[in-house]
């Protein structure tokens, strides 16, 4: 096994593009190293992207925020302006693993691990985040909801990797929130995750919304019907019910010992509604 830690995007792309056999991108390693120890993967090449400046920075860009793929959850937590702008994204990232894991785990890794239960992904999708990919044929932007195709399956082309994410500018009276359900309080994988981003007008009517659900389908879902169910409403009881019903209708979860299909579907509706209420509360006050 070969380990490389290039210092430029081009360097990383060159290594990945030239690799024979299984090449893996290493950011925090909280998934990859565990899988290697369990003999689930046996990469021939590991490309550590943490020395690449672009993967490690949080910067403002055209009124939005660009977050490097290898920025850790702990760093996001410490970033007050980002937390102010996108509380849902940061709280989702901060639910990954434990305090110790937070020191290593990254948004890029959480997405590219390819788990439908990844906590930060529904929040990124609800936020309308766009991933910047770099590859042998240059760079391209891809909405986060299009990056993952199914469990462990990504839309990345050979030699490509995720460099960063762009979170769009926040209009006034808009906010996001993320909630997840797990069998215990901390340090567990989501049974259901729900991210909601909302914008309201001066009268408190929802003008825009995005709703995303995790762990209820082979990939993280962007549920347009759920967003439509609340746009134009003030999130009154009827709108909440419509939202929950639309969220439940979109679910196609697995059935396992951590949660049966019916239970996941039920909880998805509850969480979507609660996340919307939190986002709404936040949106109204700014």
């Amino acid at each position: 096994m070969r380990y490389e830690a290039p210092e430029s995007v081009q360097g990383a792309v060159a290594l990945l593009a030239a690799a024979n056999g299984d090449a893996r991108v290493l950011a925090g390693g909280t998934d990859l190293l565990v899988q290697m120890r369990a003999d689930v993967v046996e990469p021939e090449l590991i490309v550590d992207i943490k020395r690449i400046r672009e993967t490690r920075a949080v910067t403002q860009e055209n009124g939005g925020w660009r977050i490097g793929a290898a920025v850790t959850g702990a760093e996001l937590k410490e970033h007050a302006p980002l937390k102010q702008a996108w509380p849902g994204v940061v709280e989702a990232a901060n639910l990954i693993g434990s305090t110790q894991v937070q020191g290593r785990a990254t948004l890029g890794g959480n997405l590219c691990n390819g788990s439908p239960a990844a906590d930060s992904v529904p929040a990124l999708i609800a936020a309308g985040a766009v991933a910047k990919l770099a590859g042998p044929h240059g760079q391209r932007d891809l909405p986060v909801e299009d990056v993952m195709l199914g469990p462990r399956t990504l839309a990345l082309r050979p030699g490509e990797f995720v460099v960063s994410f762009l979170l769009p500018p926040r209009p006034p009276r808009s906010a996001d929130a993320y909630l997840r359900f797990i069998p215990r309080t901390e340090m567990d994988i989501a049974v259901v995750g729900a991210g909601v981003s909302i914008a309201v007008d001066g009268a408190g009517t929802i003008t825009a919304a995005r709703v995303s659900l995790g762990a209820v389908a082979p990939r993280v879902l962007l549920v347009a019907e759920a967003a439509q169910a609340i746009i134009g409403s003030r999130l009154d009881d009827a709108a909440q019910e419509r939202l929950a019903a639309a969220a439940r209708a979109a679910c196609r979860p697995i059935d396992d010992k951590r949660g049966t299909t019916e239970f996941r579907v039920d909880v998805a509706g509850v969480l979507a509604r609660r996340a919307a209420l939190i986002a709404m509360d936040r949106a109204r006050t700014r």
């Binding site: 215990r184 309080t185 239970f263 039920d266």
Partner: protein, 767 residues
């Protein structure tokens, strides 16, 4: 009962919340655990385990594995001098008659559960050992199997063992059950189901073995039972005095290190290779291979008068032993004895059975069969109270056994049963109820009490010994075979010695857990170690004190009874003092020994015929009452424990800090049992062999546990202490279930009480 020294004298050291000598090292990660030891030239060992729950071994060829790089030896059943391991009552020196249980060290022609050991490999590195394990050529032919106790006991079921699938059964009957039900104002019926759980200690099974310069096979490991040196000797076919077991301080035992773990493998490999060898189970292996807590199906039918007085109990228990007997018959005995709880049961019948299946074996775990029953009898007690509109504290007080009353098994309660006081105090400790923090949240409270035996079954004739001796400078050495599993066993012995001999704690060193160099004290199991070894140390200290004070009395020209030993000196009533050093020099001159071996024999009795229904089974019991306040999310079924109070009568707290630690740790482990822990076994395959899938509580999952320590002065241990190792794990599951019904009206009867189960009970899940 303890004598005058214990009860009339004001205690100086016993009863003080003294920081244990092992605490700082553990917190600072400086403690050397069994896996931290290494020796030059050491081999690394690995076990090949069966992937099948039930199969015939068609082919087992080790040639290719033996030829792998770095491999020192590959052993199978035919290489084991005596391939039968006794698994009945670890450390026992008397015979246990019909309870005898055995298994093969390495599988011969058949495997009966997933994870059963098939071959043993030692190599220069762990990687080489693991690689060689994969190179062992094994072919299995799957055999018919059974995975539920109901299937196992059905006619024509595949036999897990030739003796049949019913491993043991106990029946007791007292009074007239039918007449009792006829008088009852209310009859409550319930069926409860409990799950497999794992000890889940932080420190996995681990040890190092070598042949010492004296030719003795020496095994240093993490164990609750150093007496397994005898079992190792039997398997190796060497005299018992050629095997020595040294126990390290444990990173948790909870019964999981009561049966043999790595010591027989290590002994075999050291014997075969002549080289030091190390074995440390991975977390996955530990979760796969270690025996679990018995799942139970408990059926209760309870009749009570309008006053709440219980007049009839009909109880039917069925436990899953998994593929081997281990301690199942005894676990079932504990269930049988405790099935009606700490309550009067004038008309009662208990039928208890345990069956073999092809599931993972089950054996000892903290609570030992007296835990599952709490979920049964305390759920019933709560339902009786609810049906009659009686306060939960009151219904328990009405039914509590009094001194002189008998348990269903016929054992007369000889000590105080503090249940009413414990229940009252635990309940009161919850304070003002919390207001629900959201409209979808409901808050409720539950109470659960229990009794747990401490000390061995009386017909096992339990004993313990300890040696205490002075060095010439007045410092003190305590030697006692008791393994310290983390409960403060060793430091409590120091406190007892310090109290009696007036030696400051920083002048005492205790050596524990060495089968060659410390007097044998029996197992650290059954909540027996403070009771048994505490008494042995107390006895040794008192007898040594008497020896020394005879000499001191002569030097001080007074009566020995008038002398006190405080802070390293002997004090006469007229304020004259004699230093320990001078006294010891005089003892040496006068040929008076400066050390003493104390042997404590527990009150013993003859075996009780349960079917005939009369007699004493255990020396005594520890009683407890836990109260929980929970919130239930009525949209998702999530349960959160908001407040928790746990009260136990410990007789006397030798070290209140250690007692509180046992109560808090037990309560948290019991909450894990109640709310999330679940070894999921599907068709004999364990699906939860990592801490990602086997969930135990984190600090975020439990509230502060308020430990309420009640000291009745009624125990049989040193200074009237009672055992407190196991008791606190019993009540939490029932306390939480009772609180959930209080909050929502839903009665949870299956463990663990997951959010999904609550959601279903609340009708939230649409099919």
């Amino acid at each position: 009962m303890a004598d005058a020294v214990a009860t009339t004298q004001e205690l100086r050291i016993v009863g003080q919340p003294i920081q244990r000598h092992d605490a700082r090292d553990k917190v600072a990660a400086a403690m050397a655990y069994a896996g931290d030891f290494a020796l030059p030239g050491m081999l690394h060992a690995f076990v090949l385990r069966s992937p099948y729950p039930s199969a015939r071994i068609v082919k087992l060829d080790t040639q290719r594995a033996a030829a792998m790089p770095g491999v020192a030896v590959v052993l199978t059943a035919r290489d084991v001098p005596k391939n039968t391991l006794s698994t009945d009552v670890p450390g026992q020196t008397t015979t246990v008659g019909p309870l005898r249980a055995t298994l093969h060290v390495l599988a011969e022609d058949r495997v009966r559960h997933q994870g059963e050991p098939v071959a043993l490999i030692a190599a220069e590195t762990l990687e080489q050992a693991r690689a060689a394990t994969e190179a062992v050529d094994v072919e299995y032919a799957p055999l018919p199997s059974v995975f539920t106790t109901a299937d196992a006991l059905a006619p024509g079921a595949p036999a897990v063992h030739e003796s049949g699938n019913l491993l043991a059964q106990w029946r007791i009957a007292r009074g007239d059950v039918a007449a009792g039900f006829a008088r009852a104002a209310v009859v409550v019926e319930g069926e409860y189901v409990t799950q497999f759980v794992d000890a889940a200690y932080l420190e996995p099974e681990s040890g190092v073995a070598w042949i010492d310069s004296d030719g003795v096979i020496t095994i240093r490991l993490s164990t609750q039972v150093i007496e397994h040196f005898r079992d190792v000797a039997e398997v190796l076919n060497v005299p018992q005095n050629r095997v020595r077991v040294i126990g390290t301080y444990l990173g948790g035992g909870f019964g999981g290190k009561e049966d043999v773990t790595v010591e027989v493998y290590l002994g075999l490999l050291a014997l075969k290779t002549g080289r030091p060898v190390k074995m440390v189970w991975t977390r996955q292996e530990s979760l796969l291979a270690r025996a679990k807590r018995h799942p139970y199906r408990l059926k209760y039918r309870t009749g009570a008068l309008a006053t709440g007085e219980i007049v009839a109990q009909e109880i039917d228990l069925l436990a899953d032993s998994g593929a081997y007997a281990y301690l199942s018959a005894l676990v079932l005995l504990y269930s049988t004895v405790t099935a009606a709880g700490p309550y009067r049961a004038p008309n009662v019948s208990v039928v208890a059975r345990v069956a073999y299946t092809n599931n993972p074996p089950t054996s000892a775990m903290r609570g030992f069969g007296a835990m599952q029953t709490v979920f049964g009898y305390e759920s019933q007690m709560d339902r009786v109270a609810r049906a009659l509109g009686i306060d939960p504290v009151r219904v328990r007080a009405v039914n509590t056994l009094r001194r002189g009353d008998s348990l269903p098994v016929g054992q007369v309660m000889e000590t105080h049963v503090a249940i009413p006081e414990l229940a009252r105090r635990a309940w009161a400790a919850l304070g003002t109820p919390a207001a629900p923090r959201a409209p979808h949240v409901k808050v409720g409270r539950g109470l659960a009490c229990n009794l747990q035996p401490y000390g061995r079954i009386v017909w096992l004739h339990d004993w313990s010994s300890a040696w205490i001796g002075f060095e010439m400078d007045g410092s003190l050495v305590v030697r006692c075979g008791a393994p310290d599993v983390g409960g403060g066993q060793a430091s409590s012995l120091c406190q007892i010695a310090s109290e009696v001999l007036g030696v400051p704690l920083d002048r005492i060193v205790v050596h524990v857990s060495d089968s060659a160099l410390t007097p044998l004290s029996g197992t650290t199991t059954a909540s027996r170690q403070l009771y048994m070894s505490g008494n042995a140390v107390l006895k040794a200290a008192r007898e040594l004190r008497a020896q020394l004070l005879t000499v001191a009395a002569r030097l001080l020209d007074t009566d020995a009874e008038k002398l006190e030993m405080i802070d390293g000196a002997v004090h006469a009533p007229d304020a004259r003092t004699l230093s320990l050093r001078s006294l010891l020099v005089e003892c040496a001159r006068a040929s008076v020994p400066r050390s003493h071996l104390g042997v404590y024999h527990a009150p013993a009795g003859e075996p009780v015929d349960l079917n005939a229904g009369a007699g004493k089974v255990f020396p005594d019991y520890t009683f407890g009452a836990h109260a929980a306040e929970v919130e239930v999310d009525t949209e998702t079924g999530e349960v959160r424990v908001l407040k928790y109070a746990a009260a136990h009568d410990v007789g006397r707290a030798i070290n209140p800090q250690s007692v509180e630690g046992q109560i808090q740790g037990g309560a948290v482990q019991g909450l894990g049992y109640g709310l999330m822990e679940d070894v999921v076994v599907e068709d004999g395959i364990n699906l939860t062999t990592s801490f990602a899938t086997y969930l135990i509580p984190t600090a975020a999952d439990v509230p502060d546990v308020e430990a309420i320590v009640v000291e009745s002065g009624e125990g049989l241990g040193p200074f009237n202490a009672r055992g407190i190792g196991e008791p606190p794990i019993g009540p939490p599951a029932a306390a939480v279930a009772n609180a959930i019904e209080d909050a929502t009206g839903a009665r949870m009867t299956r463990l663990p009480i997951t959010a999904e189960r609550v959601a279903r009970a609340l009708g939230l899940v649409t099919e």
